[in-house]
Symmetry: D2
Subunit: 214 residues, 4 copies
């Protein structure tokens, strides 16, 4: 590994892949989100495989879970966004979706947190905005995270972008993330390559690394 | 009301007390927190009175709920704090407390969120750190919040301090907040007076204002 | 304008274009940044036109200015990024660029802040990360910003993305922003259209709106 | 040192006092701030002694510098605070103070940043709010900071409080911080003891530790 200022500077996946320097972040694997994706079950299967490898390897595992505010607490931007996404003509026509503690909000049964794992709820796209994710990882001395879940073009791409402003190296597992908009997905991959901060890998590559206990 | 830069500048409680400019924040009214306070039931009663008045007046009501990370995810600072608070000699002796989704973590039965209200979970003392509280209030055009709950000297005082750095006017309801350390409570009141940002009131004063619908 | 929860919900450019609801943000118009762009002088000219219209209309004008940390303070991520961008083999080979208070760091002479305007310095790509921008705008009751400057594909796109997570409506002035990577620029425009939060306009459209004093 | 989750958990000053785990933060040592303090020169002398020891020891040194927004950009809270602090009857009577790039804003001549050091400007009391301080320290792997400067009861106390919410261990150098309000200063010391997160030391204790190069 390269060094500078007395620090080890990670370059490759192997450089960051250790339970003391990388966490696994499971993004919005919720009933109501996966239900919108044709390949939901296939993604779930691949995410489960990564999470189980991470558990065998002793990695920190953190789940994110999205909810939208109840209608009474939606402000200008939230109402504007909901009207736009739902094609609603007026605020009255907005239908509250993905509300806290409803069935759609729950994590899919295959991906429930175990002892020693945690769920952070959020109302933002970036998993690092309005959550304790950054300070939790930092207190563990962790500056990198492998991310799996949905949807890449809606929530994971802004997470990757925001996290690099905070100094975290994102490891995006290509076949462990899903989405629906083909052009949007392609833009995300192209942007990761252009920005040059993220390490893009796949589950066949990372699973053996995760499982390898030191 | 005074004006500047085209804005109404609030001075008194009456200036901010309206559902479009103030929210009611209920801080950590959890089974496991109130159980540590002798006057828990009395505080609960007074908080309920404020919350019900806020509901009649149509105010946004937001609940905060604290949890500590599972032991596996506690880093240097979290372990240091837990050892200090628990008088533990080693990290192994740290007992996980107030864990997510345990009975102690729940809000007391008298203070469950109704439709249109929300709960934000947090791992910080400041209700504005690692939560969507600031952006939620701002999107509603709200720059002031009345706060009730526990504990003043541990969590509410840092919330008040942090929120003023973000530009929110705190309204602290003297008999609607509780705590355990007499000297710490006094320091909080003295500090609010010294900093000069917070409006300190009591429930007999604010309840009629909250109930008054425009 | 549409309404909801007692709030006016902006839809069009005309809905947000007023000095009490929108600010003008000038992003990284620095000597050392523009020097890298062939069309730097042309962009400067168009940005000046927008800023002068905003001044005539009485809008808040806020400048952002980027700097990189001195080498001694660059950590793992900062060194990794610098090595990657500079094609440096080792941390020793990293050349410090865009350092605070150097000539390259200065705003171009045509775009100096006037009385009543401010400069916020930053080390992040998002103008809202590690700066007082969000709280400054919010205290003014402002939930929208028109943005001009460089570079769209490097810094303005992450700013737009981050700001929507915070509830700000971005107005991107198509010919008032510049960049170098053609594919990256196209991705940014496509992504704004896909996300649906940003209002994209051009200077011929917005300048008359800015100049119109109420 | 105690250990947990594979991490070294600092307890004493000696545990954190190393250039790879602690930075030195110099808070608001500005001409216009020190001019308000009778013992300004004495504080400056003690801060210089600490900073020079930190330089000899190779520690990261970061300066904070406060400014207030120009009057045109002051919103509800900023105007309310200024009116209260200045005893102004109306917003028109508010006098802009400590404006960016004015003589009062400058760091005192004895405490200018050297090569490899940096200044972060801020509009907040907490040095961690609206600045890149947290992410800069974290990228260096640093989770503790020694703080000197002024004023303890106005700005350093909120910094200490906020930083513990972010997981940083504050080391407050008793004779290297100053202030004006005797009661407020005492409250700060009492609160640090009560919260139990901060390590309070003095310059005679820390200077030899800082100077000791490994």
């Amino acid at each position: 590994m390269r060094r500078g200022n007395g620090l080890e500077i990670p370059e490759t996946l192997e450089d960051v892949c250790a339970p003391e320097s990388m966490a696994v972040v499971v993004y919005d694997m919720q009933v109501g989100v996966l239900g919108q994706l044709e390949d939901g079950p296939a993604i779930t299967e691949r995410v489960v495989r990564v999470v189980e490898a991470a558990r065998r390897g002793g990695y920190p595992v953190i789940f994110l879970r999205h909810f939208f505010l109840p209608k009474r607490l939606m402000g200008k931007f939230a109402l504007r966004m909901a009207m736009s996404w739902q094609g609603a003509e007026s605020a009255e026509d907005v239908v509250p979706i993905l509300q806290r503690d409803t069935p759609a909000f729950q994590l899919v049964p295959e991906l429930q947190p175990r002892e020693g794992e945690v769920v952070f709820d959020k109302t933002s796209m970036s998993a690092f905005e309005g959550t304790p994710l950054a300070s939790t990882l930092r207190d563990l001395g962790i500056g990198a995270y492998a991310i799996v879940g949905v949807a890449l073009e809606i929530g994971i791409a802004p997470t990757v972008s925001h996290s690099t402003d905070l100094g975290f190296v994102p490891i995006v597992i290509r076949d462990g993330v899903g989405g629906r908009d083909t052009a949007g997905l392609q833009r995300a991959w192209d942007d990761f390559a252009f920005q040059g901060h993220a390490i893009v890998t796949d589950s066949d590559t990372i699973v053996p690394l995760l499982e390898k206990t030191s």
